[in-house]
């Protein structure tokens, strides 16, 4: 068996609005569109993933928040209707996902070996969270690639951003080792919005783009500062600045998805390609790709 590797990583934000804007058959609500720039960005990612032909897409989602350890979906198939409790008028989605069980087992074992608390989610009636579904749909609406979903342990909120980020780094390294051992060609998805201050009112027409804008200019400038570092390939600086970024923007990256992904990729000093940036109900969202195939970085190079 060839050694596994991470082909690419994507910052894959998950506001349900972008699925709603696209009107896929699987989602019940209908829209007149909206948030096109983000959706077009995702279209580029879809093409890229088709070309890469990965064995699996692994997603870390802030909307599956767990208090006791890091959890992995561990059932061959998860299927059902996911109604977003926050935006049910926008997102009622029929999902049907095939889980990479061997990789799930390996991730569980590696995470446990790293000294982190971990669990396998084995309840067939479990409703998959909308963060996981939105990111996966936007990256691969055909759902023809197996997936693995990882919960966001809430250690950053319970203890501190620093403690939480350290755990996510360890989790990323464990994920990379599992990919390597199982021989998988993997794509990673960090299901995170950037700045996360948002409006608590929405227009009568949720996709009224005349009303859509970033919460304030400070948030925008922080998002651009982070994206500037990402575009320049200054990934270690990104990791260093994350706690301050979180503090200034209430960023959802606090949940750890981005830190997990960058760590799994070995904090690669390669430029991230920003496919799109726009606000959703005031939050800052960027669709970003890190292509590791050019560098042929083995999984967990720095792990």
């Amino acid at each position: 068996m060839a050694e596994g590797k991470i082909l690419a990583g994507f910052l894959a934000p998950h506001p349900p609005h972008i699925v709603y804007g696209e009107n896929p058959e699987r989602n019940i609500p209908r829209s007149t569109g909206g948030w096109e720039v983000l959706r077009w960005g995702y279209e580029n990612c879809r093409e890229k993933i088709k070309k890469l032909r990965p064995d699996v897409i692994i997603v870390h989602s802030p909307h599956w928040m767990t208090v006791v350890g890091h959890h992995f979906t561990y059932l061959p198939r998860l299927k059902g209707l996911s109604v977003d409790p926050i935006f049910p008028h926008l997102f009622r989605y029929q999902y049907d996902m095939k889980i990479d069980m061997e990789l799930a087992e390996a991730c569980f074992e590696e995470t446990r070996a790293a000294g982190l608390t971990t669990k396998k989610m084995t309840n067939p009636n479990f409703r998959v969270d909308y963060g996981t579904i939105v990111s996966l749909h936007m990256l691969n609406p055909d759902w023809d690639i197996p997936v693995l979903s990882i919960s966001a342990n809430n250690s950053p909120y319970f203890f501190s951003t620093k403690v939480g980020q350290e755990q996510m780094v360890q989790l990323g390294q464990a994920t990379a080792r599992a990919i390597k051992k199982t021989g998988r060609r993997a794509v990673l998805a960090a299901s995170n919005t950037l700045s996360h201050l948002h409006f608590d009112r929405e227009p009568d027409l949720p996709e009224d783009m005349g009303r859509e804008h970033i919460y304030n200019n400070d948030q925008y400038r922080w998002d651009m500062r982070l994206l500037g570092l990402i575009r320049a390939g200054r990934t270690r600086e990104v990791m260093q600045i994350l706690p301050e970024f979180i503090d200034k923007t209430a960023s959802e990256v606090k949940a750890g998805s981005l830190a997990w992904m960058l760590s799994a990729m070995g904090v690669p000093e390669v430029p991230g390609k920003v496919h799109g940036y726009w606000s959703v109900i005031g939050t800052g969202n960027a669709v970003v790709e890190w292509d590791l195939t050019q560098q042929a970085v083995p999984a967990g190079a720095s792990a």
Binding site: T66, V67, V68, P85, I86, K119, N125, F126, R127, R201
Partner: protein, 275 residues
């Protein structure tokens, strides 16, 4: 039509562990207290059970469940291995809409939620399990708005109270919330559950004493400190909602049970408005 009334109100925990408490032979005291609350609740023969749950989180203002019969199987995202939580509730849609209208009249953002497959939250289901096990009593279910402060939550409570009064209903209110919110972060033996932090226990007890002394205004005064020091469940604003409905002068609680659930604080407190 005679004016409606709130005959009883409860502060109850919403973690799913208690539903499985007997099976797991754990949390005995809390289960007993919750069952006692259920007995007392039934004796008051309510027309409606109005539940505010901290586990139904909303960001676009305050949400009100208006599906006539939300039903399905819920699985808690954390405690999925405890078991499934089947639910079927009969919603008092007219009263719920009236509550929302009253809340909007007070300047609060509101949203009516009526979608097939909408997941009732764990807390609401746990409260139903103990207080309305057969689902025979109609319910009204309200969300916990992330951005609401204590004052907004009290306004929401007042709106609920006004709507009940105008409806002629005999209502029981349920504030489904934890107290201190610091969970154990590793696996524990359920039978040996204890508070994750001794200071949290002291804070919880301090607040419960105030409730029993009828000093609910003091609880409101220290709520901010309590929340900051104990990671209280949604800043404990479910209590503010409850007091907004009952009126701070009248409210006096009786603690039916208190203890830890996975390190957090949990109490079953009864407010008997008839007494």
């Amino acid at each position: 039509m005679s004016p409606g009334k709130i005959s009883k109100a409860y502060l109850v925990p919403g973690l799913p562990h208690l539903v499985f408490g007997k099976k797991l032979q754990a949390w005995t005291e809390l289960v007993r207290g919750y069952e006692q609350a259920g007995d007392n609740c039934r004796k008051s023969k309510p027309d409606v059970l109005v539940t505010y749950s901290t586990q139904w989180i909303s960001v676009l203002g305050h949400s009100f469940q208006t599906h006539p019969n939300p039903s399905g199987i819920h699985v808690d995202e954390n405690w999925y291995d405890l078991g499934d939580l089947p639910f079927s509730a009969k919603v008092d849609v007219d009263l719920t809409k009236q509550m929302a209208s009253k809340a909007a009249g007070k300047g609060l953002a509101t949203k009516l939620i009526n979608f097939d497959g909408f997941p009732l939250d764990t807390g609401t289901i746990v409260a139903q399990h103990f207080l309305n096990a057969d689902g025979s009593v109609p319910v009204a279910v309200l969300s916990s708005n992330v951005y609401a402060n204590a004052a907004d939550s009290m306004k929401l409570g007042a709106a609920v109270s006004e709507a009940i009064q105008e409806s002629g209903r005999n209502a029981v209110l349920v504030a489904c919330t934890g107290m201190s919110g610091r969970f154990h972060t590793t696996e524990i033996d359920f039978k040996k559950d204890e508070f994750s932090n001794a200071a949290d226990d002291q804070w919880n007890r301090r607040l419960l004493k105030m409730m029993e002394a009828g000093k609910c205004g003091e609880v409101l005064d220290v709520m901010g400190d309590f929340a900051a020091n104990t990671m209280a469940d949604m800043q404990f604003k479910a209590f503010a909602w409850l007091i907004g409905a009952l009126g701070v002068a009248k409210a006096r609680g009786k603690v039916l049970a208190y203890g830890p659930i996975y390190g957090t604080g949990a109490a079953v407190v009864e407010f008997d408005n008839a007494s």
